[in-house]
């Protein structure tokens, strides 16, 4: 799915310095509800600013892709959504991030992370059994119900159940890379998050596994809102409903995926998706 050349006439008249971030793309009420509302987000690593005045909405039960060249701040931004950046020293968040109307910066972070799960770039299963990996989140959050059923349910949602159902007590490291990543997805899903953040989840995986994961993302949409950072534009085009393009810490353009890739409004977006840089 490639981008067509040339932008529409309106875009051509816009001076380059007009920031699209002034007017966040807002799907109309009947189209989608909003899960995350990000207003005026600025992020600092010490004295260095990495994200500048970001305004964005992440619609409910849809997949939003974040694309942009290396170092544009998309991973940093993603990690603010579950406050993972707080594990790094000297970081500062300025702005508002509302999850279903509540400011996540005022929330209890542990509770937040149960509602907003994360899958990382490299699979990072714990050195425990497959079962214990999936059950981990449940156990530490004091879940008292039937673990076995829940573990199976999560593994099914991650499209891994059939492959591991007879080996639940084997070490997670016995799995292949792609299976480990799906295990991490199952583990994240086990606590029933409302949002799942995926930080380049397929970059270390082969195309077949990547396709499997994209497929399971499609099926997960009904129960889970997703935001995925990806370097792979084809993946963004295939797997997402909305796409946001970032550059140098700023949000340049955000719209429905099909629109962004066929008729990008900003010349920089077009330059990126046609491969002129990044």
């Amino acid at each position: 799915m490639g981008a067509t050349h040339g932008h529409n006439a309106t875009a051509a008249k816009l001076a380059p310095q007009v920031r699209m971030t002034d007017k966040p793309y807002a799907p109309s009420e009947k189209e989608a509800q909003v899960r995350f509302q990000i207003s005026n987000l600025n992020f600092f690593y010490g004295a260095k600013q990495a994200v500048f005045g970001l305004n964005l909405q992440i619609p409910k039960n849809k997949v939003t892709a974040l694309i942009g060249p290396s170092g544009c701040g998309k991973s940093t931004f993603l990690r603010t959504l579950n406050r993972m950046n707080e594990t790094i020293r000297n970081t500062r968040v300025v702005g508002e991030i509302m999850l279903d109307g509540q400011d996540i910066l005022q929330m209890d972070v542990v509770g937040l992370r149960r509602r907003v799960g994360m899958v990382f770039q490299r699979p990072n299963p714990f050195p425990k059994s497959i079962y214990d990996n999936v059950a981990y989140g449940l156990r530490i959050n004091g879940y008292k119900g039937r673990l076995d059923e829940h573990v199976e349910h999560s593994l099914r949602r991650a499209a891994l159940w059939e492959e591991v159902k007879d080996y639940l007590h084997k070490s997670a490291f016995a799995l292949s890379g792609g299976q480990q990543q799906r295990l991490c997805i199952a583990r994240a899903l086990a606590v029933d998050p409302e949002v799942l953040l995926l930080d380049e989840p397929c970059s270390a995986l082969d195309p077949v596994t990547t396709a499997k994961i994209e497929e399971l993302m499609f099926h997960l949409k009904d129960s889970c809102t997703m935001a995925i950072v990806t370097h792979n534009m084809q993946q963004a085009a295939r797997a997402s409903d909305f796409t946001a393009f970032m550059l140098d810490g700023k949000l340049i353009e955000h719209s429905e995926t099909s629109k962004l890739f066929t008729t990008p409004q900003d010349p920089r977006t077009e330059a990126y998706i046609t491969g002129r840089f990044g």
């Binding site: 993972m84 542990v110 992370r113 490299r122 990072n124 050195p127 530490i140």
Partner: protein, 284 residues
Amino acid sequence: MKRVLLIWRKSLNIVMLTLTGVAAFAVVSVLFLILGYLIFNGWRSLNWDFFTQLPKPVGEAGGGMANAIVGSLKLLFLAAILGLPIGLIGGVYLAEFGGKTFAFITRYTADLLNGVPSIVIGIFAYALFVLPVKHFSAFSGGVALAIMVIPITLRSTEEFLRAVPNSLREGAMALGASKWKTIATVILPAARGGIITGMLLALARVAGETAPLLFTAFGNRFWSPGWSQPIASLPRMIYDYAIAPYDDWHRQAWAAGLVLLGLVLIANIGTRLVLSRGGGGRSA
């Protein structure tokens, strides 16, 4: 002239390189010499009495070192319960919570404490626990050994915790685990093998120490109930018997030396084998 120089250089090369091989060989031979001599002399002196009997009065032949074996175990036990937890939890601090300056100072101090001669540690334990009550005790000896165990355990725990990849920490925190829960349920279990071997090595090291016990636990030719009496220990017995003029005591010193060395080597070899099989979480 050039040719002579070349021959000289080449000969020098061979000679020096051979010498290095000889040196390495010599050092290794010393190890085998020690072991061999010890095994030879110690083995024929080892008998059932050694493990079960108390020492006989001076001058009489026979007897054993049962009290010294038990004594050493008692001292090690005290050293373990006093020193290991401090080293472990302190190591957790350094690896997981430490700020820059304080952690640096603590680490440095641990290394320095590690390098303090064990006899000085003995003086310290003496000043704290023997001087005020004016008698030697097993407790003071155990404390002296505990003080030696702490820095070793601290540094090795820290090292193995650091070796656990950060991706595991992030994975746990992303699931909503607080920091201490992450440490308790993911990090410590992952580093478990290495930490335990570090502890065993620390204990093996202090098991052979004599100097700090000389004026704390002192020594005892009988059983030592409780913790406030002087107590016998294997290294102390070896020392006393070796410098004494009785042949029978020399024989027993060899036997004790063999037992002590055997235990220390088993602990060292065993733990290293476990570590190299990846039980320490170093690979990953």
